[in-house]
């Protein structure tokens, strides 16, 4: 019994992380209709920025977390503008920035002056391109086919996965969180502080999201955009703002998830983005466009995964192999999909012929 409760607690902690990651996917999908595979990359960026701010620069951990959330949200918004709306002038600006940063760093400059100089050059490039565009009249944005955006974000994931270790290295890093290996023992249960804080932070993030979604103007705008793009535009909602906010929220929650995933007992490695692939079943379970489904799906998947890990040796199911808990979640997802092809709370797509 104690084992069951312990398994449930650990499962809920894991599930809370999955919920938040899935929330990132769901927010983007609701606003723009694409699945952002690069979310794994944002998780990585968020975790490593927290590490950098709290360890390398020595700031307070929670402040570092906040900075990381803001930075990752910013990166996410930039990605959305460039890759998915294909705005030429911003692409030119950012491309110049990245290339110049790389060249300067390789030639011995430190990161900060390199980035600063590169940013200035990038801004100049942005301005120049904008002037050219105005002359030529080619300020149009291109729409991608749906499948295409998946591949574009996968491409971006590959790029991020290589850039992050090239800056911070491939070895395991200690995140320096204040929770460490502390535990509280209640009855027979071992409640790790890291897990308690994970659940708490995730719950706070989810509550904040639901509050924004329900009660603020931008939340209503996002819901309207999900319902019908054209009607939203007709009502005066700026799609650019909605898309940017959606990506920003996704980036921010990814930073939160990444930080807690790398904290505690687990170490921070460049393979942290793999946790995202096990959040996919949670996303499917709950339905692609349902935030409530994201929460429920995440928690269910977390519990299933953890209980499988606990009970596989108990019930003599070792023959199913090492790491079966990860496969089990995909099997559970498949079973649910057979019954509800759009997930538990997903909107049923209406196909008109």
């Amino acid at each position: 019994m104690i084992q069951l409760l312990q398994g449930l607690f650990d499962g809920v902690a894991m599930g809370a992380q999955y919920s938040v990651i899935v929330l990132g996917f769901v927010v983007i999908y609701r606003a723009t209709g694409i699945i952002n595979f690069a979310q794994g990359g944002f998780v990585l960026i968020g975790a490593y920025v927290t590490y950098n701010v709290s360890q390398t620069w020595g700031w307070n951990f929670y402040l570092a977390l906040l900075v990381s959330i803001l930075v990752t949200a910013g990166v996410s918004m930039v990605v959305q503008r460039i890759l998915l709306q294909w705005v030429l002038r911003e692409t030119v600006g950012v491309a110049l920035l990245l290339v110049l940063w790389a060249v300067l760093y390789f030639n011995g400059w430190g990161h900060v002056p390199a980035v600063a100089t590169a940013a200035v050059v990038g801004l100049i490039g942005y301005g120049v391109t904008r002037r050219i565009e105005q002359h030529l009249g080619t300020g149009q944005t291109k729409e991608l086919p749906v499948f295409g955006s998946i591949m574009v974000t996968i491409g971006l994931l590959f790029v991020i996965k290589q850039i992050v270790p090239s800056i911070w290295g491939f070895s395991e890093l200690n995140m320096g969180d204040p929770w460490g290996l502390n535990v509280t023992k209640v009855g027979g249960l071992v409640l790790s502080h890291a897990k308690l804080w994970t659940i708490g932070l995730m719950a706070a993030a989810l509550v904040a999201f639901f509050a924004v979604n329900r009660y603020t103007k931008i939340g209503v705008a996002m819901r309207a955009t999900h319902f019908d793009h054209e009607a939203a535009v007709a009502q005066g909602i700026s799609l650019r703002v909605v898309f940017a906010v959606a990506f920003g929220i996704a980036g921010g929650v990814a930073a939160l998830a990444g930080t807690t995933a790398g904290a505690g007992i687990a170490q921070l490695t460049p393979n942290l983005d793999l946790v995202v692939f096990f959040a996919f079943p949670a996303m499917i379970l709950g339905g692609f466009d349902s935030p409530g489904g994201a929460v429920l799906g995440g928690v269910i998947i977390g519990i299933v995964q953890n209980l499988t890990k606990v009970y596989q040796p108990e019930w003599d199911l070792q023959w199913l192999g090492v790491g079966f808990d990860r496969v089990a979640v995909y099997i559970v997802m498949l079973l649910v999909l057979m019954v509800r092809p759009y997930g538990l709370f997903g909107t049923k797509e209406v196909h008109r012929v």
């Binding site: 060249v103 760093y105 295409g148 996968i154 590959f158 079943p281 192999g321 079966f324």
Partner: protein, 379 residues
């Protein structure tokens, strides 16, 4: 009275012909010539030696050929039937592991293990197919992603057959096709090396597979598959059995993939689970997209591109000092290692191609061809 234009097609059959115009027929002659003589003359010409110095060796061409077979299968599924599948690498793995087991443990001859692998791929694909009936679009993508993880798990844990994490050797599978033993080929008194004879074997199969896929696509089943891709509900209304065609699409594409896997196993002589993971599945999708969704020649071009690119980058990094990249010449001081650079370029290419040319290289070729066909009225 002037002659009609040389490419004028009068009957429907003419439109469907494989090599209907003089240009295409000339191209066929060139292809056959190239197939027969590339292995023999690869070492001779200066051009090919230069290209080889950049990394484009016989081995690269052989791997590209195997990717081409796999990409043809995937294009049949994704380009012509519209079922996006991120799980293609699993079927390749099924074929490869079957070859290792059948060839090494049971000692089956070539004409048994290759069809056996193909049939096994067919059966596994047949099991996966029905899921496509219930699931659409993004949901199907994630389920096929799950297939990659399930496959990976099985490959790593079914140690008796697959050798677990360390993999298994495939070198004992026999490669005797009739009078030719491709491991030790001797023709007209010349002895040929492994890579040269493999070139003939593999690209022969590429031709056979391409013919097969082209024949499926230009006849009635192909039209049914394309109808399923465009509007599957409407297709069902006009009488196309969705169950049959979607399942068959999965089954045939997996069979082709398993065949490619068998050849892959014998070429590499050793396979392990990392060869059939998510990265490989994404590479196949990239091949199909970069080459051109829904075209046969596009799959082959895409496979050549994605197969050759990493090796060309490796070759270039060795010979030239690329800024910021650590390599043999630049020492280990660069920002990125060569393999990282490979991945970054791969990612950028996928994103770039989709943004700039969604129809892939085949789309570029089609535009060029249309330009010249309409010349001097091409505007």
């Amino acid at each position: 009275m002037s002659r009609p234009w040389k490419d004028l097609k009068v009957r429907y059959q003419d439109d469907l012909r494989l090599f209907g115009s003089p240009t295409l027929r000339a191209g066929l002659v060139v292809m056959v010539f190239a197939y027969l003589f590339i292995p023999v003359w690869w070492e001779t010409f200066a051009v090919t030696r230069l290209v080889e110095g950049w990394g484009l060796t016989m081995t690269t061409l052989n791997y590209a050929g195997i990717f081409a077979i796999g990409a043809l299968g995937l294009n049949l599924l994704t380009g012509y039937t519209g079922q996006v599948s991120l799980g293609h690498s699993v079927f390749i793995g099924v074929g490869a592991y079957f070859t290792a087991y059948a060839g090494a443990t049971w000692g089956l001859p070539f004409w048994l293990w290759l069809p056996g692998a193909t049939l096994l791929g067919f059966a596994v694909g047949f099991l996966i197919g029905p899921f496509a009936l219930r699931l659409r679009g993004n949901y199907l993508v994630v389920v096929t992603l799950g297939l990659v993880f399930v496959g990976d798990h099985v490959f790593r844990n079914w140690k008796s057959v697959t050798g677990g994490n360390t993999g298994v050797s495939v070198s004992k599978a026999s490669l005797e096709v009739g009078p030719f033993d491709f491991r030790d080929l001797t023709l007209f008194g010349h002895g040929f090396e492994k890579q040269q004879s493999f070139f003939w074997l593999i690209w022969g199969f590429v031709a056979v597979t391409a013919l097969l896929v082209k024949n499926i696509v230009r006849t009635r089943p192909g039209r049914a598959l394309q109808a399923v891709r465009d509007r599957d509900i409407a297709a069902e209304i006009i009488g196309i059995d969705l169950f049959r065609y979607k399942t068959m699409a999965f089954a045939i594409s997996s069979a082709i993939a398993a065949m490619a896997g068998g050849l892959y196993g014998t070429l590499q002589a050793y396979v392990s689970p990392i060869d059939f993971g998510l990265l490989v599945a994404i590479q196949y999708i990239a091949m199909v997209i970069l080459g051109g969704l829904g075209t046969v020649h596009g799959s082959i071009i895409g496979a050549l591109f994605v197969g050759a690119l990493p090796r060309v980058i490796d070759g270039l990094a060795k010979d030239y000092d690329l800024p910021g990249v650590g390599g043999d010449k630049g020492g280990l001081e660069g920002i990125l290692s060569v393999s990282s650079l490979n991945q970054v370029i791969f990612g950028l290419l996928i994103a770039g191609f989709l943004l700039l040319e969604p129809r892939g290289i085949a789309g570029i070729l089609a535009r060029v061809r249309a330009y010249f066909k309409a010349w001097p009225f091409s505007y």
